[in-house]
Symmetry: C2
Subunit: 341 residues, 2 copies
Amino acid sequence: MSKKRVGKQTLRLQNPPCIAYSASVGGKMEADGPLAGSFDFLSADSYFGAKSWESAESAMLKKCFDLVLDKAGLTAEDIQFIFTGDLLNQCVGSEYAVRESGVPLFGLFGACATMSESLALAAMTLDGGFAETVCAMTASHYCSAERQFRLPLAYGGQRTPTAQWTATAAGALIITNAGEGPYITHVTPGKIVDAGIRDAANMGSAMAPAALETICAHLADTGRAPDYYDRIVTGDLGLVGHRILLELALGQGYDLGPVSADCGMLLFDRETQDVHAGGSGCGCSASVLVGHFLPKLKNGELKRLLFCATGALMSPTTAMQGESVLGICHAVAIENTKDPV
Amino acid sequence: MSKKRVGKQTLRLQNPPCIAYSASVGGKMEADGPLAGSFDFLSADSYFGAKSWESAESAMLKKCFDLVLDKAGLTAEDIQFIFTGDLLNQCVGSEYAVRESGVPLFGLFGACATMSESLALAAMTLDGGFAETVCAMTASHYCSAERQFRLPLAYGGQRTPTAQWTATAAGALIITNAGEGPYITHVTPGKIVDAGIRDAANMGSAMAPAALETICAHLADTGRAPDYYDRIVTGDLGLVGHRILLELALGQGYDLGPVSADCGMLLFDRETQDVHAGGSGCGCSASVLVGHFLPKLKNGELKRLLFCATGALMSPTTAMQGESVLGICHAVAIENTKDPV
């Protein structure tokens, strides 16, 4: 068996790639939220200067890509591959964002788990010796998601208590095979978990068992206890899904409570913002990782983080056909050393 | 620069992975076409025993995955990762196909270029030392695609001459880091090319410039002439797109005519089947690669093949918003030796 494989499902990177630069962009709700100060750019215009919400999503992600290039002092020509995807039908949000970049593209679909899926493949590509500098990025937009997955915004449909609020946000990370960290040391790609949830407004419940599966696999494969990590960060389980994850994990003998954090619960203030169970969307975990957690890893406040973006795999068509919502979660270990124990 | 990078855009695999097993499945139109004998399984039932065309697509791809496992004498547990995607919104065709497999999943969206995108990432994952046995697969279904991208089937809309017929077909390949070939020796991931085509019923014209870009990049990077290859196989340009590719390539100094073949022109008989410009869909290039070309590579009739699945990136929403259809093409060199010149 390859030296890079640890246990059943986890990959240990031989030359852990570095998250060298990152940028995040948000919209109005994000600007009103507790993490407003963590964004590189906030737009009061939900159209981001574009004419439709779909092209707004592309404009937002393009802005984020431009920002991370600026921060890195690079141009698109310096990026060997882009790994990206989004929630829109046929992933048009991300495709139109990079159409003028001239960078070879790996298009992904991992729903709200896209940030960790793209980081996983980016890290594997660097560690495999195929590139020196790549970009992993994703975005979501409340308005384009709402009308595609649920109802026209103008309809003013009432949302259920378990519903989450799709973040209007983007995150872009430049990963390199040299740099001062933090480093991606391990990757645990996730399996589909079908918990039988048929309520498309209850994504948290559909994703929590997938988060459990991947986190347990990662801990078993690496022999690490939950408290090895300063934080085990789930993507966007929200209040409902996060509570379920903690309960399920206790049943498996893991007390995640002391180290667990969920991007969907961090991005918005549930007391003052009408987001019900919390935030969601590819851009939620992407922007919270970039704005909130990476600076703490850079400044030493956090040393070890397990980033586990979670996705609900379904379409409005499968939901109407009575199919259950499938969950998936990919985990990426981000540490301040290339050579962890 | 990494030893595995050749030129600007091409990767040369150090330990070329082997396409060890493959299987293909088709529907009724495919059974009536010239490649009928090349399929492992043909279904006269367009529902594949399912209740909707979307779940039929999943059932077809699951059948194909089961078939390739059978041929290989493996179970899903032996597969370390699946790389898959499809045309349906949120890629539900492929996700529901593998939901019970228990195999870690990398979900992709590359439109009709998915077969070569999945092969590229599968090959990189093996060559990078992250796995020993993985599966790359994809599918498309005429009925689910037609009603999602164009019109309800029952409407009986008239199709334009440039329109293509989405294949009801699936292909699955098991790639290993040991085996007797054929081998994936090089990968040239593609860039988005925007040719400004705004007619969503003219995908061939939108994809041809992307095929040109990737094929030219591959030839320039590797220093190979077109006739190094026995065949340069494009995904599903169809009659219109393929003619454009040959013309554009001549303008770049490459005469692709003698070695060029297009899966969209091979799958159906344009004289007797009402497919207009030819076949398309993720399953078109997947099933033609598996059923038509791989056996010729196995038996020595062909020695070197450049497989270039092509994708049109768009959604009905972006088309209605007046956006152009973006093209992408990923190339994978498949050869009968691990150590090509």
